[in-house]
Amino acid sequence: MQPLYVCGFGAALPPREAGWEAQIPARLKRRDPRIWNMAYVAAARALAKTAQKPRSVVAGTALGALDETKNFLDGIFKDGFGSPRSFIASVHNSMAGKLSLEFAADGPNLTLCDGHNSFASAIASAALLPDGAFPSLVLAVDESIPLIREVAPHFSGDCGRGLSAPGEEGAVALLLSKAPLNGAARVRAVPPKPARGQSPRESAAAIAQSFGPGDGAVIPVESCTSFIGAALAVHAALVSGTPGRTIVASYSPSSAAYAAVEIIV
């Protein structure tokens, strides 16, 4: 669990910010899916206050471009023909690919799909990249669409927690350095581990210990029921700037696994 240092951070959170779309260039706003736009705005904000450019992109997403996947299937079922643009966007790594294009990040380009644990997976994966892949743009992005909200009431038990995230959509991006930076916040992550019969609360307590001893708040899985919940908590810690250590635990019902991110400001 190698720590990475935060050179910049940003977010696009439509439920919390009515004007988030103002930063989308017209050419992207006109033709790109909304989830690509959310990823773009978060990334642009993470890069806004630094001269550094990302050399790699590592994205975490649970369901990817869900709306475009639905649009493509609607085309087949309704008209007998799916839009090629929707198909291209439906691929889980389309957001990371789009960011590599927009920000000329020509190094490794990875997308992790670990449900609620996707942000932890993305950070842990970035830590595995070679030195030449840094700074690395690491993000969490997911969207909530009406279809999910329509079927969510029919979910039960774990499945309901795994797939329903109404209102909690958006993107959070971090620009991370492998080389230590004086005064910079640092993050580490434990990738998904099977729960093995532990309750989510027990899992959160166990995983907090894997970062080693130290003071600080442990934000348990109950606070991270959105796909981007862990990323939101990390972003909140960075925005507050209050010195200290926070461990954000997450749990993915779909995979019955837990993960965690440690942020030290």
């Binding site: 291209i88 997976s121 990738p191």
Partner: protein
């Protein structure tokens, strides 16, 4: 190693088909595609699921993982991790459910059961429980995913995160992918012809591959015979277009160069290239342009897409399995489907050759301009 594909269940069945240059494609029949003609595809029709899996992707993944772990008779407390590669994950079931939901909203009552394994990580979690694995990552970078998964497994073992790491790639044929590639006019209904002058698109397939990565010491401790060394992983992005490769293959060249650099090798050290070789006009041309630019004198190369079909996220691992077989057996396989040299490419894939092989380079490229390359070297002791 483990593999299940249109060529059959098990590494040996696939290896034999690859060495013979067999055409294992057949008209798509496992579901109704809605296309005018059923495209030739690498479908698995005789596969028997012994795992009672929730969906086809998981069933394929379990078959490959089971074979790869078979040589490990006693784990002796070793932690084994997982990097799972997929693109479609549970969509094979979700798309049918969504169709039913469109026709009858009351189908929503089944949402919990039908969508429980939709997410890619649901398959990874299932594998983790089925094979008692210690932790996992779920990777999805389109058609390059499988090779990246092996690369991540390599890094995780090197970093000491796990004693050994299983890289598993699995994708089932689905309406979404068949119709998606068709909408982009990237499917050759009559079967793909890699590097051929008349190539007109790829052929999709389904399957799963698995590779257990460990240090040599751990492999011996587990009682597993090292089959090859994962010598170098290269990853890059084209930064050119969301689906079309850079015409000069700049991203592909960068990935190959990075893999060679990590392996401590020069292009002249590579004995054979297991190409991505999808048989789309642009991809084959760009890949060979990149190879020419990096290698100068191009070593023998081949593609197995006509034998197995393009198995998307699984392809990098399935094809890596057979690349390692080639390395060990000293066989450069033929390229099924190839007939006539394309002057725009200027090179032809190799006919069957028997050579002493020390290093093989494997390529996998995907949507989003996503490139992966990997060097496999003969296991120590196989090359004196």
């Amino acid at each position: 190693m483990g593999a299940v594909s249109a060529a059959g269940e098990g590494v040996d069945a696939g290896r034999d088909a690859v060495y013979e240059g067999r055409d294992c494609l057949s008209p798509l029949s496992i579901f109704e595609s809605g296309l005018k003609a059923a495209p030739l595809s690498g479908q698995i029709t005789g596969f028997v699921d012994t795992f009672h899996s929730p969906n086809r992707t998981i069933a394929l993944a379990c078959a490959a993982a089971r074979e790869a772990l078979a040589p490990v008779a006693d784990r002796r407390g070793a932690s084994i991790g997982l990097v799972f590669a997929t693109t479609v994950a549970g969509i094979t079931r979700s798309e049918l459910f969504y169709k039913a939901l469109r026709e009858d909203p009351s189908a929503a009552a089944r949402a919990s059961e039908e969508l429980a394994f939709h997410e890619p990580c649901a398959a990874a979690g299932f594998l983790c429980r089925a094979f008692d694995l210690s932790g996992f990552y779920t990777l999805s970078t389109a058609c390059s995913t499988g090779l990246h998964a092996i690369g991540m497994a390599k890094r995780l073992v090197e970093a000491g995160e796990f004693d050994a790491c299983l890289a598993v790639g699995a994708d089932a044929l689905s309406l979404l992918t068949i119709r998606g590639f068709s909408s982009l006019m990237l499917i050759d209904q009559t079967g793909c012809k890699p590097f051929d002058r008349a190539r007109a698109g790829t052929s999709l397939g389904e399957g799963a591959g698995a590779v257990l990565v460990a240090s040599e010491e751990t492999a011996h401790r587990l009682g597993a015979l090292p089959l090859a060394r994962v010598a170098g992983w290269g990853a890059s992005a084209d930064c050119h277009h969301m689906t079309a490769p850079h015409p000069d293959g700049l991203g592909a060249k960068k990935a190959m160069a990075a893999a060679l650099a990590e392996a401590g090798l020069s292009p002249a050290d590579v004995d054979v290239i297991a190409t991505h070789g999808t048989a789309t006009p642009d991809n084959d041309r760009a890949e060979i342009a990149a190879v020419k630019s990096l290698f100068g004198a191009v070593p023998p190369f081949f593609s197995v897409k006509r034998t197995l079909g393009h198995t998307l996220a699984a392809s990098g691992i399935i094809e890596a399995v057979f690349a390692v077989c080639s390395l060990r057996d000293g066989v450069v396989p033929p390229t099924a489907g190839f007939g006539e040299t394309d002057t725009a490419i200027g090179l032809s894939p190799s006919p069957t050759k028997r050579l002493r092989l020390k290093h093989i380079l494997k390529n996998s490229f995907g949507f989003g301009g996503n490139n992966a390359s990997m060097v496999f070297s003969a296991a120590q002791g196989d090359w004196a």
